[in-house]
């Protein structure tokens, strides 16, 4: 309950300034406050530069979203659940598995660079 109260109060305080400005803006004459549309930034004046990169934008957005979602799903949530179930001592036990692997990987990388 205190967490939700804190969250709601803090968000309300943050939003109070722009909401107050919006309320004041509504009281102004309409010709003063009509939103001014601005063209987006484009690079160059050629037809290719003006073409909408919508498909690439969606691909980029989907790629980044998938990466972070998979990071959460594959690493953070299972790691948190495993740590909660097994305890923090499992980290030290896991180091015995991880550190030899790391040494081998570092050595392999060094060998690969010197070749």
């Amino acid at each position: 309950m205190p967490t939700s109260l804190f969250l709601l109060t803090a968000l309300a305080l943050l939003a109070a300034v722009p909401l107050g400005a919006a309320l004041l803006r509504r009281a102004l004459p309409a010709r003063w406050i009509v939103a001014q549309p601005v063209e987006e930034i484009v690079f160059g004046v050629s037809q290719r530069a003006r073409r909408s990169p919508r498909h690439a934008v969606l691909l980029h957005r989907g790629l980044l979203g998938a990466f972070f979602m998979s990071l959460v799903a594959l690493v953070l949530v299972p790691g948190g659940v495993a740590l909660r179930k097994l305890g923090v001592d499992v980290i030290q036990a896991g180091l015995w598995l991880v550190l030899p692997t790391l040494v081998v990987v570092l050595h392999a990388g060094r060998g690969g660079r010197t070749e």
Binding site: V17, P18, A21, L28, Q36, P37, V38, H60, G80, V88
Partner: protein, 390 residues
């Protein structure tokens, strides 16, 4: 009553952090170099007089900022308002939840076992990672909601920083979890209130009286002293996460070519600034919690204070005063960390993203692995020593 009081305490500390951060940003931006006075910002001579121009008055600046918010909105074609709104709510909510996890008030009256926390999670360190991930996700979504290439480059910068910062931050936090044998933030703070173990072991050599005297005046076992390398690695990792890809660099007063807010109106800039300041305050509060013993004072036993004042005032008032002392000390430490961070950012050259990432992945990650190995070996060794708590 108690939840409302706790919420008020957390709000006051967070607002103090945000306000002091904005003051430090402004002072470092407007600082005049004595050897190069011609580089002083030209805005200082604006206004009615060169001695007291309006730009130095906080009230005038606040009114001018509010007036900028009131004027007509700029609607950029092809911005996605839904994605922007969602990313703002996600980022600010995650950071506010992160602030709620910080143990600002410590224990009630300094007594063990009565933690005053808004959000007490057993896996607090994992939750910190989730908060940072949500913040980075919100920033990336904000950058991708604009079709401007500059803004998308800002999103790419944030993505690369988050990817490099994840492993570094995990490797910087695992030694703390090993040392305290817990992932809970409150347990990490309690672990730092004990006596520094080399000093305690040294005192035992001279007999129980010396050990008891040392326990009465405990040297702080803050992680900043016990694990200084971890503190440096944590600071580097958290700065990779938190540094905002805003177009206007607050400390230097420059406008970057890539970043968010290049063509945004005053409302958008307000939210960008709020989010980046909340992130900086959260990072500083996390540093205070993990490395500076939260609200604890060195050489001071709070239970002794309460016991000595009990015959005169009862237990309620001294316990409340000790709790207030904890909150005040936390706030002072928070402001101090923000001040040091702003001055370090002012003194250090602005690093290019590729250089920072190369430094993090090529240099700091191996050091973090070595530090983890060292702390794990020390913890195993100390477990075998008689009379030394791990």
């Amino acid at each position: 009553m108690t939840p409302v009081f706790l919420v008020l305490v957390w709000l006051v500390v967070a607002m103090l952090g945000v306000a002091s951060l904005s003051v430090f940003e402004r002072s470092s931006r407007n600082r005049v170099r004595l050897d190069r006075p011609e580089l002083a910002p030209p805005r200082k001579v604006w206004g009615g007089g060169p001695l007291h121009p309006p730009s130095r008055a906080a009230t005038a600046r606040a009114l001018a900022g509010f007036a900028r918010l009131v004027r007509r909105r700029t609607r950029v074609v092809d911005h996605r308002p839904g994605l922007r709104r969602g990313s703002r709510v996600l980022g600010c909510s995650a950071l506010v939840l992160g602030l709620a996890m910080l143990p600002i008030a410590g224990n009630w009256g300094g007594a063990p076992g009565s933690a005053l926390l808004l959000l007490d999670l057993e896996g607090g360190l994992v939750a910190v990672l989730l908060v940072l991930l949500a913040m980075a996700f919100a920033r990336i979504a904000l950058g991708l909601s604009e079709r401007s290439a500059w803004s998308r480059m800002g999103a790419a910068r944030q993505t690369s920083r988050a990817i490099a910062g994840t492993s570094l931050l995990v490797l910087a936090m695992i030694p703390l979890a090993i040392d305290a044998a817990s992932l809970r933030l409150h347990d990490l703070v309690v672990d730092q209130q004990q006596t520094l173990w080399p000093v305690a072991g040294f005192g035992r050599l001279f007999g129980p009286e010396v050990a008891a005297g040392l326990e009465a005046w405990p040297l702080p076992a803050w992680n900043l002293f016990t694990q200084p390398l971890t503190a440096i690695l944590f600071a580097a990792a958290i700065s990779l996460w938190v540094s905002s890809p805003r177009a206007d660099v607050p400390g230097a007063g420059l406008v970057g070519i890539t970043g968010f807010g290049l063509d945004a109106d005053a409302g958008e800039l307000y939210w960008i600034r709020v989010e980046s300041r909340l992130a900086a305050v959260f990072a500083a509060g996390l540093f205070v919690t993990l490395f500076l013993g939260s609200g604890g004072l060195p050489f001071l036993d709070p239970t002794g204070l309460v016991d000595s004042a009990e015959p005169f005032l009862g237990r309620g008032v001294p316990e409340a005063l000790v709790t207030l002392l904890h909150v005040s000390v936390f706030a002072v430490k928070l402001v101090f960390v923000l001040f040091v961070a702003s001055r370090v950012a002012r003194m250090a050259a602005a690093s290019r993203d590729d250089r920072s990432l190369r430094l993090a992945t090529r240099r700091l990650l191996p050091v973090a692995w070595a530090n983890l190995l060292l702390v794990a070996a020390l913890a195993l060794w100390l477990e075998g020593l008689p009379g030394v708590a791990s």
